[in-house]
Amino acid sequence: MNLRRDVFQAIADPTRRAILLLVASQAMTAGAIAANFDTARPTVSKHLAILTECELLQQEQNGREIYYHINAKNMKEVADFIEPFRQMWDDRFNKLEAVMKNYKSKK
């Protein structure tokens, strides 16, 4: 786990992308982040550790709580935000393919 992880690997996972989206609007505690997912809490913690390791998230101590906030400067490269865009089109095209296959089979 000491290996510095690749940003691409970090954002390839849908849960990690969702975490980034959540935290993009405001700093949140691990508990508040986990409340947004059906996944088990330790799984969310693991995702947070990976995102922190590759410096997409930063931790900040505030009293007894640790808040996670987004490290905006690492999110600015086109390469970093293109993957969600690609996924969106991939989903859309998958739907197109399914709709037309369905039509073809009914003909």
């Binding site: 993009a24 969600p84 089109w89 739907k95 197109l96 393919e97 709709v99 037309m100 296959k101």
Partner: protein
């Protein structure tokens, strides 16, 4: 595994290319782009107007589950060659993203498979980058909705 959908966007350019291989004959792929019945299904939108011909115009409207208009997209078709090419403009109403010029190239790979290449040109590099970030923005709204849901349950 090779990705089915590829997006090519170079830093500092005002265009992108999206390429996708389909397990569909080219005529069916083309149909998905010109017939309202199919557009509505795969784009998950309402087609208010779709004149699939040279200089025809088109208008789509998407509503959220509450029935409010979420977005309106409009444009004009400049060229339409069946099973080969569509050139059209695209503009999302009420957004600062400007007008996009979209060129769709349809190509048969085999009798049952086809390829789509979508070349999109934006008004500026800044606008292109904003659109690329859109899914992130949508995701944030989605996250906000989830938060509202969670908070709503606590009340």
């Amino acid at each position: 595994m090779e990705q089915k959908t590829k997006v090519h966007a170079e830093d500092g350019k005002q265009e992108i290319t999206i390429t996708r291989d389909f397990d569909l004959p080219v005529d069916l792929l083309f149909k998905a782009y010109v017939e309202p019945e199919f557009i509505e299904q795969w784009m998950n939108t309402k087609v208010l107007k779709q004149e699939s011909k040279k200089y025809g115009s088109w208008e789509y409207e998407t509503r959220d589950p509450k029935g409010n208009v979420a977005f309106v997209a409009t444009g004009v078709i400049h060229e339409l060659i069946p099973d080969q090419k569509i050139t059209r403009t695209f503009e999302m109403g009420g957004t600062p993203f400007g007008v996009q010029l979209e060129l769709y190239y349809f190509e048969a790979v085999t009798e049952d498979t086809s390829r789509l290449r979508m070349h999109v040109i934006y008004e500026s590099v800044a606008q292109r980058d904003q659109v690329l970030k859109l899914p992130f923005a949508q995701g944030i709204n989605w996250a906000h909705n989830r938060i509202e849901e969670v908070l709503g349950k606590l009340k």
